[in-house]
Amino acid sequence: MTHNARIEIATRSSRVFLVFAFAAIIAAVFLPAFVSRGIIKDMFAILTLLALAQCWNLLAGYGGLVSVGQQAFVGLGAYTLFAVVGLYGFDPLLSILMGGVVALLFAIPFAFFLFRLDGAYFAIGSWVLAEVARLSVAQWKAVGGGTGTSLPRDTVRSMPGTDWVRALFDVSGSAARDIILYWIALILAVALMTAIYVLMRRRIGLGLTAVKDNAEAARSVGINASAIKWMTYLISAFGAGMVGALIFLQTARISPGAAFSVTDWTAFVIFVVVIGGIGTLEGPILGVIVFFVLQNFLADFGSWYLVALGAAGIVVMIFAPQGLWGLLRDRLGLTLFPLRRRVIFTSERTDL
């Protein structure tokens, strides 16, 4: 099976929206002054899920790599944080970055294995590697082996900035910690989206020039395709590693099952992206909102919630593969982030 790559382009400026987005970010920064701790916690969950969704979106939507193994990087990032904070007393906030770096380092050999697997088999291969990571970490007795461990209380308490936030908002220590973690989630989500946005614009710009200048366009895009694969895979691993570290810094308790959960860190993420609209920056935002609304409504129905989510994902994939955002865009003709372009990898099949 050979792979082709093509690039879809449609640019439209949207300065007005950028102003809006900027205002929204400012508002989000000051949100803790106006809302309860419960809402801040919800926002933390929303932002971390959004960040993971954007990572997976970059991978599958732009890079054509359908991974079912992103939980590997969430878990590796989280365990890195627990190791350096719990065992060596590192600064928790800096350790989030380390979580990302370690995930990135693991992603290099992972990619080496996975890129040997053709198209669809990449998906299961990535799942195998995540399982290997989970089973290996479960052998690591210093961080609690198969049953897991908790962060030492005082390291969590003594997170930098806690006192300052306490004084600023006049809240308890644990509420101050939630606010700090919320801000980090906000920074992560915004930074990831900005990075993806900038990257894709640049990348597409280059790809386009090649296509225009050269009749051997397919070939030059083909060469880019491999670079795009590596880049998207590594970036999404880095992002997922940091998000994983952040999420488990907040819960302060970890186990291999939770840190490497395929449902929490991959299934939910895939449904968010697919339902919202794959290959766009806006889609996952919409998807996360829909996801949390559904979750609140269906909270009492236990597993039925997941059945509904799976069914919604299938229905969207069959009847509206562009997702809810795609439907909205066609209806309203609007584009917030002028990024409607994606590299699509296809398995070659000729038609008569």
């Binding site: 359908v66 669809a120 088999y121 290997v132 052998q139 997941l306 059945v307 299938i314 069959i318 296809t346």
Partner: protein, 285 residues
């Protein structure tokens, strides 16, 4: 201790994994569809057989015989109603749809049968064994292995000796030209998935008789099946059997060294093969 016994257990376990893998391989071979719900369909079939045994008091084999046509119907309808709509150039839709299906199946089973682990009761067969001098072999593992060989023989016969097999291969090569031969590709795909789910039922029978299963058991079976297929080389069922045996032996040897290493050892064996022989041990052509 690693003895001849451990190796033989592993080889026989490989028969079970080859059963898991044959259905996956069949579907991929014909329509280039990687079915992420394959493991969950095995578990689903396991519960179907269990219902026959524990609710209707049937013999497990009889219950599987009844479940097989039902599973064929499930596959047929699934293919026509859902999967045929997402086949095509883009690999994303079929992966996401089967992943969604996997999540749905797991949670439906969870709601229906609870998270308790189950086993298909088999009576005396469970402990029956055959003495072959060096060691004694469980009758059930032997039966599993024999069934795997039978399934592969029958599949190869269908593929290379019958009109249906010609249609399978023709559609796999070029669906448009196949339709010029009077073949309806969508029907052939539905038949293939139906057939794959009959094999899934056989796999489920042995899985359920030999080990405990619960609604979350599926994905791990998918991974073993996938590893067996890749190790063997795509499109070669005997290779798949060898692949299954390699996973099986690695697991029993790993478990003999340290019970916690069982599953990990199988995955590591897969990664090593992937490293040295990326196209598998017995690639086609």
């Amino acid at each position: 201790m690693i003895g001849i016994d451990t190796i033989i257990q592993g080889v026989l376990l490989g028969g079970l994994y080859a059963l898991f893998a044959s259905g996956l391989s069949l579907i991929f071979g014909i329509m280039r569809l990687v079915n992420l719900a394959h493991g969950d369909l095995i578990v689903f079939a396991g519960y179907l057989i269990l219902v026959g045994v524990s609710v209707f008091g049937l013999n497990p084999f009889l219950s599987a015989l009844i479940a097989a046509p039902l599973m064929f119907g499930v596959g047929w309808v699934l293919q026509l109603a859902v999967l045929n709509r997402v086949l095509g150039h883009n690999i994303l839709p079929p992966l996401l749809v089967t992943f969604g299906l996997s999540v749905i199946l797991q949670n439906l089973l969870l709601e229906t049968f609870s998270a308790d682990s189950q086993r298909i009761p088999v009576g005396v067969l469970e402990t029956a064994s055959v003495d072959i001098g060096v060691t004694s072999l469980g009758l059930l593992p032997l039966l599993t292995f024999g069934s795997a060989i039978a399934v592969i023989l029958i599949l190869n016969w269908i593929f290379y000796r019958t009109a249906l097999g010609r249609a399978f291969r023709a559609v796999s090569d070029d669906p448009t030209t196949a339709s010029l031969m009077g073949i309806k590709p969508n029907r052939i795909f539905a038949l293939a998935t139906g057939l794959a789910l009959v094999i899934v039922t056989i796999a489920a029978l042995y899985l359920g008789m030999r080990a405990n299963f619960d609604p979350t058991t599926g994905p791990a079976r998918l991974l073993y099946a996938f590893e067996a297929v890749i190790i063997g080389g795509l499109g070669n069922l005997w290779g798949t059997l060898i692949g299954g045996m390699i996973i099986g032996v690695s697991q029993t040897v790993g478990a003999a060294l340290n019970p916690e290493w069982q599953i990990l050892a199988g995955h590591v064996a897969f990664l090593i093969v992937l490293l040295i022989r990326p196209r598998g041990l017995m690639p086609k052509q």
